[in-house]
Amino acid sequence: MPAVQLNDIKKFYGALCVLDGINLAVETRDVVAVIGQSGSGKSTMLRCINGLEPIQGGSIDIAGHTITPGTHNLRGLRKEVGMVFQSYNLFPHLNVAENIMLAPRIVKKVKKEEAWETAQAVLKQVGLADKAGAYPDELSGGQQQRVAIARSLAMKPKVMLFDEVTSALDPQLTGEVLKTIAELAAAGMTMILVTHEMGFARQVANRTVFMYKGQIWEEGPSKELFSAPKTPELRSFIAPDLK
């Protein structure tokens, strides 16, 4: 059974259809990149997967939980699905260690010592072991985003969702975040990442999904998809990157 399965997802904003029958299966240890123009529905789809946006049709199976239109209790699902946002969204009133330990402590009722050990381990994993006591506004954007990744990892998720996590970063800071994600991928984490980094999608994701007008327009193994796009829409979308 796939780790994540989207069955005919439909989503509307009023009369506007933003997701028009999405079907997607993500296997355990898959790294799936989602690309497409702004407004193609890729971020919306990702947000539907952990219930931040309600769906109006279809169903989503993820980590043993199911979302249908009208599903309200999402906490069980969210314990197993990590999400990292474009704008980091660290809690500014808490230091790095507190940011990371908060959810394990209050949601999973992990003991303080254990939460602290986990925090140190995930900080080491993202290369920020020395920043446990820093506050978010003392860190660079790239460091904040790596803390956000560590905060998600501390919940020991089965699936990680990344929503354009490098879009707010300067080019020189993008690299350190992408490196962290690539290491996670290599370690076998199941991930779906919405991204504008075509080179990264090609390198790190084993599959790539191209969205267009609220539909999955084309999908396949990343290398094939980028080297031999079948649809004219994908061809013109990736053309600037091929020059």
Binding site: L52, F85, V107, M155
Partner: protein
């Protein structure tokens, strides 16, 4: 009996000032309690509750405090609920302060970016957990300056309770004036005592809003 204004008059004024402080503190505690509930319900409650609270805030903000005071003191006693001046004063001041403080705090809660709620959501927190650990601590920091500033308004507004013969600082000044017929000296001293109470609060409020800014959200 006519006496002249001097150091011997101070105990009367200090006694009045003490009641001004007691009245202000009681109002602040009671209004703080209701304001927190109202602010949360105004942001998170079901729509009819939100509309009801918004209506209360609009209505009371547009009503002079003196009218609320007269309603609580004369109006309610006419209906058979007699409250002594202190109780009527606390009730009306609380109704009044809640309408403003709830609005101030609602603004502070709403000033926390939506992304903070989402981040807490994505970490599987419940609504009470999101409020307790993520939203309210940040809203509290923003609210400190305006809240302390509003406390100054409460202190000054307690003076209207002189009109139902509650002997706080202003009423004590009136009584003293009746005894001394030295209104200039008496009311200047009364004013100075309000200043002594309020200025440190104003200063602290400025300090909270200016120098020691809350850590901004990212």
């Amino acid at each position: 009996m006519i006496q002249s204004f001097g150091f011997s008059s101070l105990p009367i004024l200090l006694h009045g000032a003490l009641w001004t402080l007691i009245l202000s503190a009681s109002t602040f505690v009671a209004a703080g309690f209701f304001s927190l509930i109202f602010a949360l319900l105004r942001v998170l409650g079901p729509k009819p509750v939100r509309i009801l609270i918004a209506g209360y805030i609009e209505l009371v903000q547009a009503t002079p405090l003196l009218i609320l005071l007269f309603l609580a003191y004369y109006g309610l006693s006419f209906l058979g609920y007699y409250f002594p001046p202190l109780a009527a004063a606390v009730i009306s001041l609380t109704l009044y302060a809640t309408a403003f403080l709830a609005d101030i705090w609602r603004g502070c809660i709403e000033a926390i970016p939506k992304q903070q709620w989402e981040a807490a959501d994505a970490l599987a927190m419940s609504t009470p957990q999101k409020l307790r650990y993520v939203i309210l601590p940040q809203a509290f920091r923003i609210s400190l300056g305006p809240t302390v500033g509003f406390l100054v308004q409460i202190v000054k507004n307690t003076s209207v309770t002189a009109l139902i013969s509650f002997v706080e600082l202003t009423r004590a000044g009136q009584l003293l004036n009746n005894m001394t017929f030295q209104p200039f000296e008496v009311f200047l001293t009364v004013g100075a005592m309000y200043f002594i109470i309020c200025y440190p609060l104003s200063y602290y409020s400025e300090y909270l809003q200016g120098g020691k800014r809350a850590r901004s959200s990212t």
